[in-house]
């Protein structure tokens, strides 16, 4: 685990991970309007229970207040944002420019993503960019940081000091290459990984075993992604309608087996049990809790998951 243990940025998230603590991140989606109070309020609900807060970038291709501006709001509140950036909407000029913009506010974490196809959002007739892919964006961030150079080769004055992350979906098809794909992301420069929501714990553990077999858990910090179900309906929807999601039948049954007014509680229980089980998995370095429009429950999940209080990065 040593190569990871030295920090390369001033990211609080990196510091906590490097100190060997289980990290906790969560995410907030920006509003569909220009009222920054909404994102600040969401952040306020969770700020004492997480180490860093991801801000989604026009998730599901629905136009929203931009991720970078939202991250700046968080930064100005003294919080630690993770800038999510998709390659769907920006070419390499805009991506590099936004990375510098983020760095100018000392935003220190970034998650490099492809982004959902625009077909799912409010502008299905729009153009998409995909000038780079998510792995090439990782390479770009790392080149800008480590070599202090733009993609074009010119020198960057005050290079961005950004802790570079990527997503991984242990469940998507084809399953055979899921670990190879992670290896590729690590080779491209990923330093931390936030996984897709995990409901099939057996399959996740099998993936983690393959990850360990290749020694990848020593090269990248893996944060296990979790999303609590609010209802049995949501569990069914995630199972049937969301591409790349693996929700086992027993989980759906468990949710449907309790009365409607108790389902939210059951969803939280499943989430907390998952944390307790996954904590024991070698190579899991933390949790990424995506409580979609349910941020107020994050503190409870973190506390009952035994992840509270959070370490003080200044003391590390």
């Amino acid at each position: 685990m040593n190569p990871m243990r030295t920090t390369r940025t001033d990211s609080k998230l990196e510091k906590i991970l490097a100190a060997g603590h289980l990290a906790v991140t969560s995410e907030c989606g920006p509003p569909r309007g220009s009222d920054a109070e909404l994102i600040k309020k969401k952040a306020d609900l969770i700020k004492n229970h997480v180490d860093a807060i991801n801000i989604t970038d026009n998730q599901t291709s629905v136009t929203r207040l931009c991720s970078l501006a939202s991250c700046i709001h968080l930064k100005l509140m003294g919080l630690e944002p993770v800038l999510q950036m998709v390659v769907r909407d920006r070419n390499r000029i805009a991506l590099q420019s936004d990375i510098l913009g983020a760095a100018s506010f000392d935003i220190r974490n970034m998650l490099c993503l492809s982004g959902d196809h625009q077909k799912f959002g409010d502008c299905p007739q729009g153009q998409n960019v995909f000038d780079l892919d998510s792995m090439q964006l990782l390479q770009t961030v790392r080149q800008m940081r480590d070599q202090g150079k733009f993609l074009g080769g010119d020198e960057i004055k005050r290079p961005p000091r950004i802790f570079a992350g990527a997503a991984a979906n242990p469940f998507a098809d084809p399953f055979d290459i899921r670990v190879r794909r992670l290896a590729k992301k690590v080779a491209a420069g990923a330093e931390f990984i936030q996984t897709q929501c995990i409901y099939n714990l057996d399959r996740f553990e099998e993936w983690m075993k393959q990850v360990r077999d290749r020694g990848l858990h020593e090269k990248v910090y893996i944060l296990a992604g979790l999303t609590p179900f609010k209802s049995a309906g949501m569990a069914k929807y995630m199972k049937n309608k969301v591409p790349g999601m693996d929700v086992p039948d027993e989980v759906v049954k468990r949710m449907a087996g309790v009365p409607k007014d108790k389902q939210a509680e059951e969803g939280l229980k499943i989430c907390i049990e998952s944390i307790q089980r996954l904590k024991e998995v070698e190579g899991v370095r933390g949790f990424h809790i995506m409580a979609i429009e349910w941020e107020e429950k994050v503190p409870e999940i973190v506390e009952k998951g035994g992840l509270y209080p959070r370490p003080d990065p200044a003391a590390l």
Binding site: R88, R92, S114, G115, D116, H117, K119, N128, F130, D131, L132, D133, S134, M135, Q136, Q139, T140, L151, A167, N169, A172, D173, P174, D176, I177, R180, R181, A183, K184, A187, A188, Q196, P243, G244
Partner: protein, 222 residues
């Protein structure tokens, strides 16, 4: 081949309704194969238009001709002697043919009769699908002969994305995931280790992004 699809007849009527004499020009190449703009489709469109204008009590003369190709001077020259009689030409060639005709017969309005869609194959009669976007720097050698530029909805060079599900692309509509096919091919070729090589950042200047392209071959130029 270049695959095109027929335009709605209402759109074509709108283009030509003020003309007295109209020439419909088919093309014997790709659009014949994809049954959008060959001799047969010229005949069908001409009859439909004649019928429509007759019902409207409009006297519009509609002639038909189908050229070997509309993307070569040689064949387009074949209509030089007759083209001046027409107030409008509807070309059922791909957008290339429509333009080449417009450039050559600068005084004659030439309208597109098809929607030009993509470069693709005939999967079976009546089903055509995309295979290439002419990106100017073919990378099929590294992707098991399957093109992620034209066949991955996000043109990922290091796919698949997280949305690939049971061999299908996240956009739905029965579109196969290009990266599933690439991986299946690499597996079949015993080259799955190649999958782990990071694909370099693409030089899009050879593609549309670089502006209109041209190939000049001095060795064959006359």
């Amino acid at each position: 081949m270049i695959v095109a699809d027929r335009k709605p007849i209402e759109e074509i009527i709108e283009y030509i309704k003020d003309a007295n004499k109209v020439l419909i020009v088919g093309c014997n190449e790709c659009v014949t194969v994809c049954e959008a703009g060959g001799k047969k489709e010229v005949g069908v469109l001409a009859s439909a238009l004649r019928m429509y204008f007759m019902n409207q009590g409009k006297d519009i003369k509609i002639d038909e001709v189908t050229l070997e190709r509309q993307c070569d001077h040689e064949y387009l020259e074949e209509i030089r002697n007759i083209i001046d009689q027409y107030q409008a030409v509807v070309s059922l060639a791909c957008g290339v043919g429509v333009q080449f005709m417009s450039e050559k017969y600068f005084q004659t309005p030439v309208f597109p009769g098809v929607n030009t869609c993509f470069m693709g194959v005939t999967e079976e009669r009546g089903v055509w699908s995309e295979r290439c976007q002419g990106c100017g720097q073919c990378i099929l050698a590294t992707t098991g002969g399957i093109c992620p530029v034209s066949r991955c909805a996000k043109r990922l060079f290091n796919g698949p994305c997280g949305g690939s599900s049971k061999g299908m692309c996240e956009i739905g509509g029965e579109v196969p995931c290009a990266w599933q096919i690439i991986i299946d091919r690499l597996t079949a070729l015993g080259r799955l280790d190649d999958y782990e090589k990071l694909a370099p950042i693409k030089d899009w200047s050879k593609e549309r992004a670089g502006g209109p392209r041209k190939v000049v071959r001095e060795d064959v130029r006359q």
